[in-house]
Symmetry: D2
Subunit: 253 residues, 4 copies
Amino acid sequence: MPRIDLNADLGEGFGRWRLPHDQELLELVTSASIACGFHAGDPQVMLETATAAARRRVTVGAHPSYPDLLGFGRRELDASPEEVRAYVIYQVGALAACCVAAGIRIRYVKPHGALYNRAARHAATADAIADAVHSVDPALVLLGLAGSELLAAGRRAGLLVAAEAFVDRNYEPDGTLTPRSRSDAVLTDPSACAERAVRMVLDHVVIARDGTRLDVSPASLCVHGDGPAALALLQAVRGRLGDAGVDLAPFAA
Amino acid sequence: MPRIDLNADLGEGFGRWRLPHDQELLELVTSASIACGFHAGDPQVMLETATAAARRRVTVGAHPSYPDLLGFGRRELDASPEEVRAYVIYQVGALAACCVAAGIRIRYVKPHGALYNRAARHAATADAIADAVHSVDPALVLLGLAGSELLAAGRRAGLLVAAEAFVDRNYEPDGTLTPRSRSDAVLTDPSACAERAVRMVLDHVVIARDGTRLDVSPASLCVHGDGPAALALLQAVRGRLGDAGVDLAPFAA
Amino acid sequence: MPRIDLNADLGEGFGRWRLPHDQELLELVTSASIACGFHAGDPQVMLETATAAARRRVTVGAHPSYPDLLGFGRRELDASPEEVRAYVIYQVGALAACCVAAGIRIRYVKPHGALYNRAARHAATADAIADAVHSVDPALVLLGLAGSELLAAGRRAGLLVAAEAFVDRNYEPDGTLTPRSRSDAVLTDPSACAERAVRMVLDHVVIARDGTRLDVSPASLCVHGDGPAALALLQAVRGRLGDAGVDLAPFAA
Amino acid sequence: MPRIDLNADLGEGFGRWRLPHDQELLELVTSASIACGFHAGDPQVMLETATAAARRRVTVGAHPSYPDLLGFGRRELDASPEEVRAYVIYQVGALAACCVAAGIRIRYVKPHGALYNRAARHAATADAIADAVHSVDPALVLLGLAGSELLAAGRRAGLLVAAEAFVDRNYEPDGTLTPRSRSDAVLTDPSACAERAVRMVLDHVVIARDGTRLDVSPASLCVHGDGPAALALLQAVRGRLGDAGVDLAPFAA
């Protein structure tokens, strides 16, 4: 029976502010990538999110970012590999402690936003991240874009890696994500996204923005937790995957 | 043969800024309390300091603070016990990962500045800190002011605790530190501080600001790393302790 | 004809996060106290809010805070008067420039959260704020709690001052606000708040938590913009004031 | 008699940390570009620096940056023109208020670090800065690299502009600064820098890294205030300019 993981970014509030639906999203995913304080997520939000994930038996990963609360980690920052390495070690450690305090352990690391995008194509940044993760805990899995430099770097570092595909983001013909600066970067139709998810899992295919047929073989499907329609979209994806006989289970456990 | 630990706060730079003598201080102490990013200490500074401590076989502890870079963690902040608990978990985890990446482990936790002072007299804050430390790693030792609520809270939580005395700070007759708002809060004469250190270790006594004789039985002596004369003072203390036949060794190892 | 000002705290988003109803609230108030970046409000949010206020001819004031994004400025911080003075100058200047760029001028200053509360009872902090405001622009009005140290300090500094009363906060018998730590600190029934507003304006009276009758003579009524029911509450207040023949107009213009 | 301005970046401390020589540098320059809190410079440091500049009759400009305390504003950040515009308005306003409180007015704006470099070659960023400055106060002068997009944008916006040359930075053959990533980016020999300064002012020439002769006609010479040898270098420059009969005077007053 085919299986797939569903992951979303969670715990992306800060202080007085929350993004909607964190709690409901936790009911719908099998893995939660939790913000670590650099783009979102303060220590209390992290503890609460880890505790809620533990209660629902959702697998937890760290979601480290460039230090950019103001830009939500979505802006490229020209940080050196040494800086990136230190940022990842710090954030993974901080979330790891929150998880231990919540009675669980983190299982994977997935970079956030602009750092994710840079690590997909820039080998030195990807190596810095992989090395950071390995130096904290070599049992952690590195989750990244299928075909990315990040996954290659993870393999070089001796880590287990897992590829993810995005059900609600458009793809360029080269397999990278359509940049958010384009109006068609984000997909919002629940039904189309659900159909896309089924084809990714069963047919190992996704259709790029220009019609190019891309091969994918994801261990996890990502749905963005911070969009307004995240809940409806995720429910549609879960429903359609279930109808197609796909089992949902964490990729790392 | 009598033994004592010497600890100093280290790694208290941030970004472009450093406090002087970090490297030299590491040659003179047996334990280093490393800032964790909330009052000082960015991820790179933390990694560098942990790495330097590892090289010199100095024992490392986490030095968590209120979130107050602008005030260097020295201003009382009315944070709730739940907030304090989360802050300590986060910071201890972040430094723990930096230490693991540097090939060592943290051995103790000592709160910084205004958090240290509040935890010395406020039981709920002290319990929050002790609970945080225990929930991350029950093998960590809690280092705090002799006779403080913090040490009592640590014992309640089932932690090993260690008392420290300050060779370069004046004491009030009740055993608390003279507040920094007073001009005589900080002692700067190396020779007087060294003499004070010897009496603390051999006679278990320190003389308060008003002449009161206070009993102390410290596991560690603290010298502040950020003062202008820290180096000279620490050299004098080491020299005099050696002359008096006191052995220097980490309190936690 | 009796007149009163309605003020709310606005622009209290940051980066990716917004509090609901900023735009709608602007339709309902005559004065907007805009966050200046220390507890909320980044430069873009400030510019957008100033621009929206200009379009609706709402009078704008600066809403400076302790530097505490994580605690939304609601936690007492033991900052010195010199620090407070500098923080207020900085924030007032930053918002003043945003207003000039939006084609308007700020007219008043009202401290936020814990700084507001401290300035209500602590003369040195109040003097620091009043002096800061006067040193930037002596034509600015200082808005604060009726009977507070802040208004006394404003008068000492030679500023125009204006007293406000809170339609959605409970009062202690001594005229201070019931602390948010108490469950009955915030009032949420629109009808009761509206009735309260009318009595404040026409009868110059508010009933404290324990039934004490307090004299008030506010130049402005404050409704909190960040609560979930702010809109309904403000609409009820406006409606009832209109029915009672009270004219709404800015206190500073 | 030939005249030139000497400018340095000042007030680049933060909280507990200071860079050395701020006070001494103020004795040696005719213009001070004061950090505004985004890469360095907290409100108290800004007030102190403005006050010290006022006492010494040094002309003051704002030195706005990307929001990057951790990277001292030296890392390129992919901020949009709208973001940059808001950041500059905010920072200029904050420093303007500090100056008013110190009894003076800011006279010019010079972007810092990575923002300066980007504005030198990227027209949309340059326009955002020029528009921000003009919208706050059209009498402010925009100070930037000779031949840069920033100066062109300033002229388009209707601002007075002034070109600066760097006595302690190497130049590329195209007139841009040698990037700090190269080991020969910064010049440290006081005598060579002083000679360079004289040739810039009297001969309107500077020799690029590869020997190319570049035409310059600076209104101001910049010496970096944060390098270890800033004082000696600035003294040498002042001495040699004086010997060559060059008068020192602010470019904006």
